[in-house]
Amino acid sequence: MKLVTAVIKPFKLDDVKEALKSAGVVGVTVTEVRGFGRQGGHTETYRGTEYQVDFLPKVKVEVVVDDADVDSAVEAIVSSARTDKIGDGKVWVTTIDELIRIRTGERGAEAV
């Protein structure tokens, strides 16, 4: 089992969700996060004083999938979240040691 984590532009969340559903993913967890990468931040001005905003709002998407489905899930995210402009975010894949469905107690691939 793999955990696929993506940090994306917030307005792309709907597209990513639909793409993941189409790719057969049955559950998604999202978190509103802030961060910076190569895009950098922006400035805001209040009463003539400039403030640098380094951490931009992003959305973190997490899905757990079977090893066989990793590539299609990653492809779904990458193709749906891409705008070709700086700040589109990243996707990374990590291995999961154990997975348990709370309701039934099923473990491993059964619980995906």
């Binding site: 805001e44 001005t45 209040y46 009463r47 003539g48 004083t49 400039e50």
Partner: protein, 409 residues
């Protein structure tokens, strides 16, 4: 009692009362999210303590004996001998109306001391300041020696905005800077709250200014129109400056300009014509949009720009009466401004009245704060300042997100 006059002043009193919560939102939105409730409470505290103190003794000092030069005395303390017969009802109404001003004037100072003042110190400072600074200066300006000399202040430019503005400057000098200022920025935590507060202030200000005619008459109508125009002109001027200087027209600029225009037209609104009020608003918008940056050059941490908006704006409006006052427009007896054939006399009187107010208010404000510093203390600890005054001083949090944050204790 003229029922028309009474009706208008009744409504105006309620309008002015609404300004204090409006000010609280205006300031609260600009404050940090960890201090917003403390800001609201500093303002609402004035609504709790001042009305009672006002009828006990405040009104008596400020207006008990209208003909006194310096001190209204204690003759009207506890509203002694003020009934409803004859002119009694109108007098009682006037006391209520002026009480609203006594509430909001110390509240204005709260924006400067945001984020580090002990609530206990504020709780004592606000009412004591109202009695020792607001009430006497009010007396001098209205019916007292500064008014008799010829200076004009229709609704409280000198007595309220310059008075509270200079007190705010003294307060931040004695209190000191917030930790991290000016390196660490503290932009407004909620601009929508600022805009709601601005709307409430503008709405309430019609009572503040037009109500100060103390009747439903031509002067009230002109003051109403001037309040309408100067606020718009102030906001317009500030936003245009921003567009040219900083690149963006901002909500905070619009709000600040509206308030600057309102502040400036406050002393002038019953003495100048509609067109003059536009000039006053424009001047206040431009001048205050630069004045708010003085604190960075001079190094005083006036957190929400009480000095740059209220002190400077009040001074601009008060001095511009010396240019634009037009007694013939109202058919009243008072000095005319420079542009209306009055020469420099009124301008000089305006300068004297404001100069006296600045010196007296600065000295007495300093004495009150130094006394508090030596007793209850003025500042919260550094840890408390970083934690935020909402939880430390009030045991409350402004924004609970989600359901996991609270259980029954």
């Amino acid at each position: 009692m003229d029922t028309g006059d009474a009706a208008w002043v009744l409504v105006s009193s309620a309008l002015v009362l609404f300004m204090t919560p409006g000010l609280a939102f205006f300031y609260g939105g600009m404050d940090r999210s960890r201090n917003v409730l403390n800001m609201l409470m500093m303002n609402f505290w004035c609504l709790l303590i001042i009305p009672i103190l006002w009828v006990v003794v405040g009104y008596s000092i400020a207006g008990g004996n209208f003909d006194a030069a310096f001190f209204g005395g204690f003759g009207a303390a506890f509203l002694k001998d003020i009934g409803l017969e004859g002119e009694g009802a109108m007098q009682l109404l006037t006391i209520a109306f002026l009480g609203m001003f006594a509430v909001i004037t110390p509240a204005l100072i709260s924006g400067a001391v945001a984020g580090r003042m002990k609530f206990a110190a504020w709780a004592i400072f606000a009412p004591v300041w109202m009695l020792l600074v607001f009430a006497p200066v009010f007396k001098w300006v209205y019916g007292g020696w500064l008014g008799v000399r010829g200076s004009l202040d229709f609704a409280g430019g000198t007595a309220i905005h310059v008075n509270a503005g200079i007190a705010a400057l003294v307060a931040v000098l004695i209190l000191g800077k917030r930790k991290g200022w000016p390196k660490e920025g503290s932009p407004p935590h909620s601009m929508p709250l600022v805009m709601i507060g601005t709307g409430i202030l503008w709405f309430g200000w019609f009572g503040f200014n037009a109500g100060s005619a103390l009747g439903a008459n031509g002067q009230a109508v002109q003051a109403f129109m001037n309040t309408f125009l100067a606020a718009a002109a102030g906001g317009l001027a500030w936003v245009l400056v921003e567009r040219v200087r900083d690149g963006h027209p901002t909500n905070l600029g619009a709000a600040s300009g509206i308030v600057a225009g309102l502040v400036a037209v406050t002393p002038a609104c019953g003495y100048v014509s509609s067109m003059s009020s536009i000039w006053i608003g424009l001047a206040a918008g431009v001048i205050c949009s630069f004045a708010v940056r003085l604190k960075f050059k001079a190094g005083f941490d006036d957190a929400l720009d009480v000095v740059g908006v209220h002190f400077v704006g009040g001074l601009v409006g008060s001095l511009m009466i010396g240019l634009f006052a037009d007694s013939s427009h109202f058919g009243n007896e008072h000095l005319d401004g420079l542009f209306y054939g009055g020469g420099l006399t009124l301008l000089l009187e305006q300068a004297i009245a404001n100069g006296v107010t600045i010196v007296y208010s600065a000295v007495v404000t300093a004495l009150i704060l130094l006394a508090l510093k030596a007793t209850v203390g003025l500042r919260v600890t550094e840890d408390e300042e970083l934690t935020g005054l909402d939880t430390v001083e009030h045991g409350e949090t402004a924004y609970h997100f989600g359901e996991v944050t609270m259980g029954r204790g």
